[in-house]
Each structure stands twice: as structure tokens, then as C-alpha cells.
């Protein structure tokens, strides 16, 4: 079987995964809207959704407020963050040809952490809700920029290895600066710590507005070049022989993934493992081609994080477990499984 027939077969595997992904996302959104310390019946929630936000009879104004101002933006942000981290992880795994690459590879996490610390330590204390996300966003981009610049210029940046090494160097340096700052201003410790672990407890529509443009732009870019991500899988030399401008693709992907990651980190703090768990799980379902892996990572990443966030605010309600803790619990054993799979394959 070959040609159009085989393409159909392939398409149907992708289609069923897409259907599952969409269904899962819908379920995740509904669960996210339904669950919370305040009981709002399922029927009420559905009616509220379909009446575009007017409180239907049987629901108090306050319940409608909770849905509209707390749960809905929170679910949206969780979805955006999950989609961003999953897609960025997949894209980085492609352009660095490393199954263990994650969105924070080039110093985005360290840069964001430093930005947040600077904002907490030196920013106007009344405007923290705004300054921390913006500083984290900028910090993440600066971190990646430094790593990229260093990798290209001084470490003979023709290879991906030099970029990765530069990322490690930049991350170490920025983390050291952050630690030093925190020691100097020890009152910042607790606030930065809670931010670092990842939380959506104070999410509102402002966060949606902050993250949405970057995330949409970045995801659209990555989606557009997903076919080229397949090409780069055969290595720089072969990809070039196939006519691909490898360096340009890598740059575009790094910019897009960093933008998405920076937005995610700005509104949610540092949530790890999503960029690893989701792409690998998707690959198990539909194989290694990024035409499927990328869009499905977006879908499943969004659902995953919405579920995790719901879990985070349910298990010890009304307190919340930092989301990063939950993803680490899931991610660590997952990580080990991936490592073992790779070693066996090698």
C-alpha cells in the first residue's frame, strides 16, 4: 500500500487523535468551570455558557461572578499556558534533535526568574500584579536572546550543541544573579518562591489579555512551519541538502517558542515537565511527524494543564498546591521512562 492510500491511513490515525484531543479539551474546560469551593451545578454552568454570561435563573449573581471573573479566565489561561509549553517543547525537541529538550532550554526560565525577582525587589510594591508578569516576560526573552547570541557568536554556533551549551551557561549565570539578589533582599524570598512554583490562584482577565496575543502569534508560527520541523529531523547537513535554510528555521522556531514560553511564564510562573510529557505522549499516539505532533501537542497540552490546575485547587481546597509541584510529580517518573526508552533504543 502506498501513495494516496497510505496517506489516508496516516490521516485517519491523526484524525482520531484530533477528535480525542478536542473532546478532551471540551471536557477539561467543563470540569474546570464546574469544580471549585463554591458549588455551582452542572446544569447551571451549561446554561450560563450558552447564554453568554448572563446569570440564568437558579444561579446567584455571585455565582455568575465567580464563573465569569475567576473560573473562566483561569481555565483559559491554563489552556493557553499548557498549549504554549507543550508546543514549545515539541518545537525545541525538533530543532535541537533532542528528545529531552524543554521550553526552558535556552535560559528562558532563569531569565524570567531574575526578572520576577528584580520586579519584587525593586519595583513599586503596589503594582506587583503588573510588574512581575511583564518583568518575567522580558526576562525570559532576554535570557533566550543572550543564549542565542552567545551560542552563535562565540561558540562557533554552527551546531545545536553550542546553542545548548550557551543556554546552560546563561541560565547558570542568571540564576546566580537571582540568588544573590534574593540574599540581599531576603524579604523577596517568599514571594518569588511562590511565583517560581507556578500558580494560577490570582488569575483574571488581565492575564488573558497579557498572554493571548503572544501565545496566538507564536503558536500560529509554529503551526505554520510544522512540516519543516520534519525536515530538520534528518540533521542539519541533510536538511540543507533538501533545500531547507536550517539556521533561519531554527531562529524562527526559537523566537516563536520563546515568545510562547515567556507569555506562559509571565502569567503562571515556572511550570515544568509539560514540554516533555505532552509531546512524548502525542508521539506515542501518532508517531514522530510534527505535522501531527505539533497541533496535537497544542490540544493535549491545553487539556492537560486545565486538568492539572483543577487538581491543584481541589486536593487541599481552599488552599492550592503549586501547579509546578503536580507536574513534577507526574513528570519525574515520566522523564525516567523516556530516558530508559531512549537508552534501549540507542
Amino acid at each position: 500500500m502506498s501513495g494516496p492510500e497510505a496517506a489516508d491511513r496516516r490521516a485517519s490515525a491523526g484524525t482520531s487523535a484530533t477528535v480525542i484531543g478536542v473532546a478532551l479539551l471540551v471536557v477539561a474546560v467543563l470540569v474546570g468551570l464546574l469544580v471549585g469551593p463554591v458549588r455551582i451545578g452542572a446544569a447551571n454552568v451549561l446554561r450560563w455558557l450558552f447564554s453568554f454570561g448572563d446569570a440564568p435563573p437558579g444561579m446567584s449573581e455571585q455565582q455568575a461572578l465567580i464563573l465569569a471573573d475567576l473560573r473562566l479566565p483561569r481555565v483559559i489561561v491554563a489552556g493557553l499556558v499548557g498549549a504554549s509549553l507543550a508546543a514549545s517543547g515539541a518545537a525545541y525537541q525538533a530543532v535541537f534533535r533532542n528528545p529531552l529538550a524543554d521550553p526552558y532550554l535556552l535560559g528562558a526560565a532563569a531569565g524570567a526568574g531574575l526578572g520576577a525577582t528584580i520586579a519584587v525587589a525593586y519595583g513599586p510594591s503596589g503594582a506587583l500584579e503588573l510588574t512581575v508578569p511583564v518583568a518575567a516576560f522580558v526576562g525570559a526573552l532576554v535570557g533566550v536572546g543572550l543564549a542565542y547570541g552567545l551560542g552563535r557568536s562565540t561558540l562557533g554556533g554552527r551546531s545545536t550543541t553550542s546553542l545548548v551549551l550557551a543556554g546552560v551557561a546563561v541560565a547558570s549565570f542568571l540564576t546566580a544573579v537571582q540568588t544573590f539578589l534574593q540574599q540581599q533582599r531576603s524579604e523577596t524570598l517568599r514571594q518569588v518562591y511562590t511565583w517560581i512554583l507556578g500558580r494560577l490562584g490570582t488569575t483574571g482577565w488581565d492575564d488573558v489579555r497579557l498572554a493571548l496575543p503572544s501565545v496566538v502569534l507564536a503558536l500560529a508560527t509554529m503551526w505554520a512551519v510544522r512540516r519543516l520541523l520534519d525536515v530538520i529531523e534528518v540533521g542539519d547537513v541533510e536538511a540543507q541538502s533538501l533545500g531547507l535554510n536550517v539556521a533561519r528555521l531554527r531562529l524562527v522556531v526559537v523566537i516563536a517558542a520563546s515568545l510562547a514560553t515567556a507569555a506562559a511564564v509571565a502569567v503562571a510562573g515556572l511550570i515544568g515537565f509539560v514540554g516533555l510529557i505532552i509531546p512524548h505522549t502525542v508521539r506515542l499516539m501518532v508517531g514522530g511527524s510534527y505535522r501531527s505532533v505539533l497541533p496535537l501537542s497544542v490540544l493535549f497540552g491545553a487539556s492537560f494543564l486545565i486538568f492539572v490546575d483543577t487538581l491543584a485547587r481541589t486536593v487541599v481546597a481552599p488552599a492550592e498546591i503549586p501547579i509546578g509541584v503536580i507536574t513534577a510529580f507526574i513528570g519525574a517518573p515520566f522523564f525516567i521512562a523516556v530516558l530508559r526508552r531512549n537508552r534501549r533504543a540507542a
Binding site: 520534519d230 541533510e238 533545500g243
Partner: protein
């Protein structure tokens, strides 16, 4: 390599004074080569002579000095994609992406034919299907790459190159790691494709017997320089091989069994 100015002879590849420096070492020095359209040239030479580097430089993948012309046009004039539609490279150690099927892999060959945001159309799928059939891999289209044998894998890479629909095929050690049957199969397939499509083939090979039996013309590369070029009878001679390979061989041309290079005992003293 001198070609006659006979009417009808088209020079597919013209290389003049090609040199490649990697790090601070000169790997290839002042190479001059002419390859006739539809012909098969084999670049031979001892390990480390620079054969792979030469091939990659011809493919435009390495910085070089000197000139490379494809059908009269300087390679630098061609855009990336046009160059990839003209030259297809089959590397010695291809990277096998994880989780790809044979068909997805061969489809990568259509990359230079597709616009930035385009995806494959029926024409592309047909080209891939036909390439797989010709390489006798039709049955394997939906099989994963990592389930193939060595010979099948090599054919898959060639299928990808064929799907590129390029006119010049560069094969880097196409017989590495294959058993004798697989080796013959691959080379016979290449010969079939060459005659059917009018492909121009340049290969590097370490097996002198197979090289001599399949290619038309030869260039012996030693320490980055072309030290001998011409037909089999001109290049693949015992004293030439002894001088540059440091090995004692004999060459036999038996009526029924054909031409072969026969190893004699021990290195040249």
C-alpha cells in the same frame, strides 16, 4: 577529466580548482572534474582522502573556493531550493528520525518542491509512491523506518533522493554495511534509475571491484587531490592502487566473470 567536445555531450557538472578548508586543514585541494550528463563517475581513494568532503562541497553544503557549475550555471546562483531540485545527496550515515514511516521519510524529498507554507499535493504523493515502487519498497510505505534492514534502509534513503526528482545524484558510500546481495541490489537499482531517468551519478566507493563494474569513469582522490582520472582501464591499475592505497592488488578481466580487483597478500613494502 577531459571530455570531447562532441556534439550532444552535455557537461552536467564542471568543477574547477575546488578547495575546501575545514578548521585549519585543507581537506580538498584544487580539484578539477567534468561529469557528463547521464554518466556515472566514481570517486575512489584511501580513507581520509576527502571523498565525502568533496561530495558535500559539490552539493553546496560546505564553504569552498573554486567553481562548481551545474549544467553551465554556477552553483552559487541557484537558490537553496533550486539547488535541491537539481542535486540529491544520499549520505553515508543518514540520520534516521524517530517514529517516521518509510513514506513520511521519502516525502521529505519533496521539500524543495514545496512552498514555505504549502503541504504536499497529489503530484508529490505520486512522486513518492513511484519512487518507493521503483526501489521495491512499496510494501513498506507505512512501516516504521527503524524496522527496516540495512539494505532496505539504504533503499529508503535513495527513494527520498529519487523523490527529489533531481538530475544529479550524489551517493556517498552506498554499499557501506550491506551484505553482498544488498550491495548488488542497490547498485543495480541505481543503474536502472540512471538509464531510465537519464540521471547523472557521482558516487564514492571503497569497494574497487563494485566501483569498477558499475561506474564509467573514475577519479582517484588522495590527500585531497585528484591524482588520477579516466576510465577503468586508465585509473584502476595495480601500480596506481599500490602507490595511493598502499595495497598490493591484481586486476583481472575474465571473459565470463568480468572485471575485478583481486587483493594480493600484505601491504606494499
Amino acid at each position: 577529466m577531459k571530455l570531447d567536445d562532441r556534439a550532444g555531450v552535455v557537461t552536467a557538472l564542471e568543477v574547477r580548482d575546488l578547495s575546501v578548508e575545514l578548521g585549519r586543514r585543507r581537506i580538498v585541494s584544487g580539484v578539477r572534474m567534468d561529469v557528463e550528463e547521464g554518466g556515472w563517475v566514481c570517486v575512489i581513494g584511501p580513507n581520509g582522502a576527502g571523498k565525502t568532503t568533496l561530495l558535500h562541497a559539490i552539493a553546496g553544503l560546505l564553504p569552498r573556493s573554486g567553481s562548481v557549475r551545474l549544467w553551465g550555471r554556477p552553483i552559487g546562483e541557484l537558490g537553496r531550493r533550486e539547488r535541491a531540485r537539481t542535486i540529491a545527496l544520499v549520505p553515508q550515515l543518514p540520520v534516521i528520525p524517530e517514529g517516521f514511516t518509510v513514506e513520511q521519510y521519502a516525502l521529505l524529498g519533496r521539500t524543495p518542491h514545496l512552498g514555505l507554507l504549502a503541504s504536499e499535493g497529489p503530484r508529490d504523493l505520486e512522486a513518492v509512491a513511484s519512487a518507493l515502487e521503483r526501489l521495491d519498497l512499496g510494501w513498506a510505505a507505512t512501516r516504521r523506518l527503524d524496522t527496516l534492514s540495512g539494505g532496505e534502509l539504504r533503499r529508503a534513503v535513495i527513494a527520498r533522493a529519487i523523490a527529489q526528482e533531481a538530475s544529479l545524484l550524489l551517493l556517498d558510500e552506498p554499499t557501506t554495511g550491506l551484505d553482498i546481495a544488498q550491495q548488488l541490489r542497490v547498485l543495480e537499482l541505481v543503474e536502472e534509475l540512471r538509464t531510465a531517468d537519464g540521471l547523472t551519478v557521482i558516487s564514492t566507493m571503497h569497494d574497487l571491484t563494485l566501483a569498477g563494474r558499475f561506474a564509467h569513469r573514475f577519479a582517484l582522490l588522495s590527500e585531497g587531490r585528484v591524482v588520477s582520472e579516466g576510465t577503468r582501464a586508465e585509473v584502476l591499475l595495480p601500480h596506481v592502487i599500490a602507490e595511493h592505497y598502499g595495497a598490493r592488488v591484481g586486476v583481472i578481466d575474465d571473459g565470463t566473470l568480468g572485471w575485478a580487483v583481486v587483493p594480493l597478500s600484505g601491504p606494499e613494502r
